[in-house]
Amino acid sequence: MSDLKIGAYICKGCGLGERLDCDQLATVAQRDGKAQVVQQHDFLCSAEGVKLIQNDIDNEGVNRVVIGACSRRAKTEAFDFQGVNVSRCNLREGVIWIRPDEDDMRETTQEMAEDYMRMGCAEAKHSLIPASAQEKGTDNTVLVVGGGITGMTAALEAAKTGYPVHLVEKTGELGGYAGKMWKDVPMHAPYTDPVDTCVADMAAEIEANNLITVHLNSTISKTSGAPGRFAVDISTESGSTSTINIGAIIQASGATPYDASQLPELGYGKSKDVVDRVELEQLAIAANGGPIKRPSDGKEVKKATFIQCAGQRSEKEGHLNYCSGDCCLTSIKQAMYFKDQNPDIETEILFDDLRTPGAPGEDFYRSGQDKMVTFRKGMVSEVVAGSNGPVVKFKDKILDEDVEEEADLVVLATGMVANSGVDIDEVPQNEPGEWEVSVDSILNLNYRQGKDLPHLKYGFNDSHFICFPYETRRTGIYTCGPVRRPMDTQQAIDDATGATLKAIQEIENAKIGRAAHPRSGDLSYPIFRKEGCTQCKRCTVECPFGAIDEDEKRFPVFNESRCRRCGTCMGACPVRVISFENYSVDTVGQQLKNVEIPEEWDEKPRILVLACENDAYPALDMAAQQGNHYTQWARVIPVRCLGSVNLIWVTDALNSGYDGIILMGCQKGENYQCHFVKGSEMAAMRMSKVDDTLQSLSLEKERVETYEIAITDIDRAPKLINDMAETIEKIGLSPFKF
């Protein structure tokens, strides 16, 4: 670019002035980095220092600011300049703190700092200033899919904030599973007795709210577009379809009760007096506060036995592997239906592990005990028909004995199965241009990667369990409630509130064309040079967020507002036609090429570390803060995600004479830590093929390593770098130093 003007600013605070030759750094920035303006300051992040930079931006035309000071993770507010690109050279955490302050180390420490200055200037030179994404959101409306407690909460929360809502419910009434309950577990202290459900109140509130449009007996027959400008077809049972423009989608499709007919060994289907927990609610509703009667002969129940974990937490074929989380509280509540009506009715809960999570949990359990509900640690083997009612056979695990007990009614505490639509890993992907409604699908997305949100485990939708629970792998679509993980009413309400907030955030982000979490606020977006594209489809397949569709000629179509800016597409592209304005094959490639590679006889190896900016880079920063050291040969470059690492960087580095390369990313797989879900996995897959490259260069395969680093690995991460230095000492320097 013609008007590119680099200003390099070197801070002498925090000991940088004493440990480093800053005049020399300034010379390097000017001579090697081609910085037109170079300034030193004793305290760059002070108001005076910041003013110095701002003045150059305003009056000298500096539009690439290179700051040689602390890590890019420090002083972000001070060095937040608008309208320019800021490159940070990590001289503090990355150089003087990570190296011992000894006289014989001064030379190599200075070399490190000089390299970082060159790298910063190179990045600045090859980056463009991001304009915001071209596709801007226009729609404010929130679509809520599912009219249960979760969906109703989401609709009300969004409407209260002033956003119009369309609420789509498959059945003829609002309420979902909670609408079929006689009473609910209390949500407020004292947590002693079952309370009325909040369904009726919420439904009335929705009815009265002008901002909420309810579509009953309706499903979503097509979802297309991107955040801020989704077009959603809502089809009614009668066959009519209307298209609505939507800003963000909240999927609260909930869960279906597990089909108890798969449990013949527990007597279901064999005896009418064995019911599941949904049927017990119906019996309680029929009793309307009077004595609950059993289905077979209408006799008043005098003894009820509850079997916990029915078809759950079991490895058996057709059973659920997981705990549904709310069944223990539900059974306690249902036992209270009997006890509150007549304390002489015997109620027994047979459990393996009693789990009562949440605010009401322990108190409600105690209240059950106080009401003389019997809790017995027993493993049920079988329920058979007896002369007066079903007979439960179980092993009492405390008394270590086999027991047979007759009951009037047996209740199976069955689990919940997520209504998460089709599993897009199983169902073939849509062909571009071809598109057909699936009745099993919830959203019927016309995305390249499939009709619904990807699943993670047990059929629940993928969401980052700990760090960002509502974010799914489709930007602008948020899940909440039991479709995300098993949960009870109270948790579903909390969950819906959180997801609503995310949906609103996304609507606002899309309006100004900036990224959603985790790179919130990022204005860059993938730029694609169509002429060079070979239609290999790697980007469309590998994008963790399904952001990229294909046109009829199989060229990728980047939906900018669906993009999370991780750069996995950039890492995938074999012809390197995908880039971001401020993050591209060049911005990183030029950094590593601008490191000075000493001649072989200098015996100064160079180790390139490509570190994920989310976990590995902070871990290295923190290692420095803790006084850990790593070798003076390392040069660390932060990357947006390991998924954005293009193999060309590895090849270039090896060709330039680097002696070792370390890639540091996040944990992958089922318990992934990757902020971009699939990035580290993709990187690992690509790096598994790097051996070929090494072989073709006749290099040892120990020279390239990929590691999973957690943010807490402040001892391990530096050690891995030192290990590489040792390895290089053993196998010798790279022969590619020219």
Partner: protein
């Protein structure tokens, strides 16, 4: 006493937890046990119990009336209070154990020759006579608890200690005749009688 037992069986008709709740000291806590087993793990005598506390509580809830009340387990409690200190649910386990023992005794269901129960009776008989423990008599009755032969053997074995205590004035043979007592034996007996009346009225009341 066995009539009383029968009365209770009929009254509660298999609802043993309720029976314990109504009749055993601190018995209304039993239902609150969450079966974590910390009490059994904390009990220094745990391995020697037929049924450790956790199991006793489960047996009560499972309606195993005879097995609980005829058990020697709760008689094994040494009142070290480890279980009370550690119970996460705050159950007064030591008190419940003594409460169960007392109730079992009241029903006449204590196992024959249960040594703790036997000693407790000897101690009570000894103490309640004069309001003071007659140590010589208590010691001897303990030796002869299980018959003359064992008593003589035990006495001979303890002879040296006995003579030593005699020499240092810790023991006087005169205790065999009468022995010492509290100042107002008559008043003491009246107190015991009154306490007995109150206790019976209490049981009668809850039993009605």
């Amino acid at each position: 006493m066995s009539n009383y037992n029968q009365e209770m069986i009929e009254k509660y008709r298999g609802n043993f937890l309720k029976e314990v709740q109504d009749n055993v000291e601190e018995g209304d806590w039993v239902k609150m046990c969450m079966q974590c087993g910390v009490c059994s793990g904390s009990c220094p005598l745990g391995p020697h119990w037929e049924h450790p506390p956790q199991e006793i509580f489960m047996m009560i809830r499972a309606g195993k009336r005879d097995e609980v009340l005829e058990s020697s387990s709760m008689w094994m409690c040494t009142s070290c209070y480890n279980c009370i200190a550690r119970c996460p649910r705050g159950l007064p386990i030591t008190h419940i154990m003594h409460g169960l023992a007392t109730y079992s005794k009241r029903l006449g269901l204590v196992p024959q020759n249960q040594p703790t129960a036997k000693f407790a009776q000897l101690f009570w008989d000894n103490l309640s006579k004069k309001g003071r423990v007659n140590e010589l008599k208590l010691g001897l009755s303990l030796y002869f608890m299980n018959g003359i032969g064992e008593g003589i053997k035990k006495s001979l074995k303890m002879k040296d200690i006995g003579l030593g205590m005699l020499k240092t004035g810790r023991l006087t043979p005169m205790e065999m005749i009468g022995g010492h007592g509290c100042k107002d034996t008559k008043g003491f007996h009246a107190m015991l009688k009154k306490a007995q009346e109150i206790e019976e009225a209490r049981i009668g009341k809850s039993g009605s």
